[in-house]
């Protein structure tokens, strides 16, 4: 295979683009079926089971920890926020409970690129750059939660704003709106329910299997959407990255982060491709930072999509809280110049420590994303 023939084949794959695009369309449909199945399964479980299952997360700090742990477990905030939206749609949890969980998901999703950065732990300078770029995302999201969660708990500013927006779009909380997508997915969800009922399942058992089916459909379809979309747009992403690096500004980089993440439905993909570039010294942390923030906003499209599969305005409100939270965080933590660099300084400080002793990096990942949330959850629930 020669350079000229390989160059011609870059990004090409065995499946024609149109077929792959149709496949992605089918997978999005499957994802919506999954969300609807999850919602239906929780409804089938009944009020008592729902209360037993979700009473532990009524404390906002416990909810935040569940959001972190759930997202770390599935390695996808798109999946975890979609599940949260499904839970709200089914009435299993209310908006007040869901908001800290959504914020937790925002923190949990940052673990993926931090794990990617550990790949260069043996090369000190590379690792310092990669780890700083990965953890700037962590610090930004943690600071955003530290500022906005208390504000939300005290004033309800995000949920009120999202509620008003949701009301404008689909109607008031407590009512039902006729989602066309809900109607499209109703039939396959009915098939799932019939199939599982025909196996002799009923009541809570039927609800649990429908929830599990929904979870599997959500996780598998999102994974496949991400994989296929990445193949579809890899050439464009590469070209745009080159443009942004050569002459882009912060806002352009941020918009690029939004666009890429919306298309691949995964902020982890967007933030993880930045890590090898930073490790190689091609991308400075200051250039990667706005792309990361764009990814935070872009990833909220999945929860919005999931909300369209339900007929509950509250589900849409929670999805909108996710978007508003990330946009507000950018407005208060990135737009003012005096505070913009704080996450960068924190990340560079942590990266210097981690580069000197990589074991601290592993300790940080384990501690911040698993041990600490588990301990805090155990105390707060």
């Amino acid at each position: 295979m020669t350079l000229s023939t390989l160059a011609g084949e870059t990004g090409k794959n065995s499946m024609p683009t149109a077929v792959r695009a149709m496949l992605v369309g089918g997978l999005i449909y499957l994802f919506l079926v999954g969300v609807s199945s999850l919602e239906q399964g929780i409804k089938v479980m009944g009020q008592d089971t729902q209360e037993q299952l979700f009473s532990n997360v009524s404390n906002p700090i416990a909810g935040l920890c569940i959001g972190i742990l759930g997202t770390v477990l599935v390695q996808s905030s798109s999946a975890s926020t979609s599940v949260i939206v499904g839970l709200v749609a089914a009435g299993a949890i209310d908006i007040e409970t869901a908001v800290p969980m959504i914020m937790g998901a925002n923190i949990g999703t940052t673990v993926t690129n931090t794990l990617v950065s550990l790949g260069s732990a043996r090369r000190s300078d590379e690792f310092r750059r990669a780890f700083a770029t990965a953890t700037v995302h962590d610090f930004f999201n943690v600071i955003a939660v530290a500022v906005l969660l208390p504000l939300e708990l005290l004033t309800g500013v995000l949920s009120n704003a999202a509620g008003r927006l949701s009301e404008l779009l689909v109607g008031s909380s407590g009512s039902e709106w006729k989602s066309p997508i809900k109607a499209w997915v109703k039939t396959p969800v009915g098939w799932i329910e019939d199939l599982e009922s025909s196996l002799g399942l009923g009541g809570t058992a039927l609800g649990v299997t429908m929830v599990l089916t929904g979870l599997v459909l959500i996780i598998v379809s999102l994974g496949l959407i991400t994989k296929n979309m990445r193949l579809l747009i890899a050439d464009r992403v590469e070209r745009s990255m080159n443009s942004v690096l050569s002459k882009g500004s912060g806002s352009v980089a941020m918009l690029l982060g939004v666009v890429i993440t919306m298309l691949v439905q995964s902020s982890s993909i967007t933030t993880s491709i930045l890590i090898p570039m930073s490790a190689a010294g091609v991308l400075a942390i200051r250039n990667a930072y706005p792309v990361t923030l764009g990814a935070n906003v872009g990833t909220t499209i999945t929860a919005l999509l999931a909300a369209l599969a339900s007929s509950s305005p509250d589900a849409l409100t929670v999805a909108l809280v996710h978007t508003l939270f990330n946009v507000t965080a950018i407005v208060i933590l990135y737009v003012p110049r005096f505070i913009r660099d704080v996450p960068i300084y924190c990340a560079e400080w942590l990266a210097r420590i981690a580069a000197a002793r990589p074991v601290w990096a592993v300790g940080y990942v384990m501690g911040a994303f698993i041990v600490l949330p588990l301990v805090v959850f155990a105390i707060a629930r």
């Binding site: 295979m1 350079l3 160059a7 990004g11 050439d235 080159n242």
Partner: protein
């Protein structure tokens, strides 16, 4: 700039190959000017600025291309790792040719005079032959052709053997040093330039096949 995301244009490696071809064009330009200064009455100072500016442009392109290749691997994964390594090897060699052209210019600036001598005609013919090789290599980079590649390799081997013979002759010559030393050095540079040209063609044809003792990092002797 964000809208460019939605526009259709060449993919990453195609773009990198096309930029590498442009870089080879710059290397040829430097070679032509430097040899012109050494082999004709053209003043070295007249071409100096052009050659240095071209060299800077080549160095800048080399850095940008390396960055593009890192981005390519980050985004696309290791699917084309062979081609990326081949391209790194290739742009390194092109950059070396630029340096060797500068060495020829240095020779002219140090006062070596090869113009108006009995062998001037031969030297100019050889110069034209090597300059044409740049074009052939560029064509092979864009579109591989086994027969042309074999022909080019053989031609380059013959040229290198001829250069080595000339170097040996000058080293053992009883002629005055001011005549033979610049020629021996000049042929040594030509020999390396031809070696790098055939190396570029080989890297384009077989990205991962290195010559014995050769590595991606250290290319020249």
């Amino acid at each position: 700039m964000v809208l460019s995301f939605f526009r259709k244009s060449p993919s990453g490696l195609e773009h990198a190959v096309s930029r590498a071809v442009g870089m080879l064009g710059d290397a040829r330009h430097s070679f032509d000017l430097a040899t012109l200064a050494l082999l004709t009455e053209t003043s070295a100072s007249a071409v100096d600025a052009d050659i240095r500016a071209t060299d800077e442009r080549m160095n800048r392109t080399e850095v940008e291309l390396r960055s593009e290749l890192v981005i390519h691997i980050s985004v696309q994964g290791t699917m084309n790792i062979g081609s990326v390594l081949g391209l790194i090897l290739l742009i390194n060699r092109i950059e070396r040719i630029g340096d060797q052209a500068k060495n020829v210019l240095d020779l002219a600036e140090e006062g070596a005079v090869l113009a108006g001598r009995p062998d001037s005609e031969t030297l100019l013919t050889e110069r034209a032959e090597i300059s044409a090789l740049f074009g052939e290599v560029a064509e092979l980079m864009v579109e591989h052709d086994d027969a042309r590649f074999a022909e080019l390799t053989q031609h380059c081997e013959e040229l290198q053997a001829l250069h080595q013979t000339k170097i040996n002759e000058y080293v053992h010559s009883m002629e005055p040093g001011r005549d033979v030393v610049p020629r021996a050095i000049y042929y040594r540079y030509l020999n390396r330039i031809v070696a790098n040209l055939v190396g570029i063609a080989r890297a384009a044809a077989e990205p991962l096949v290195l010559e014995p003792g050769e590595s991606v990092v250290d290319l020249d002797e």
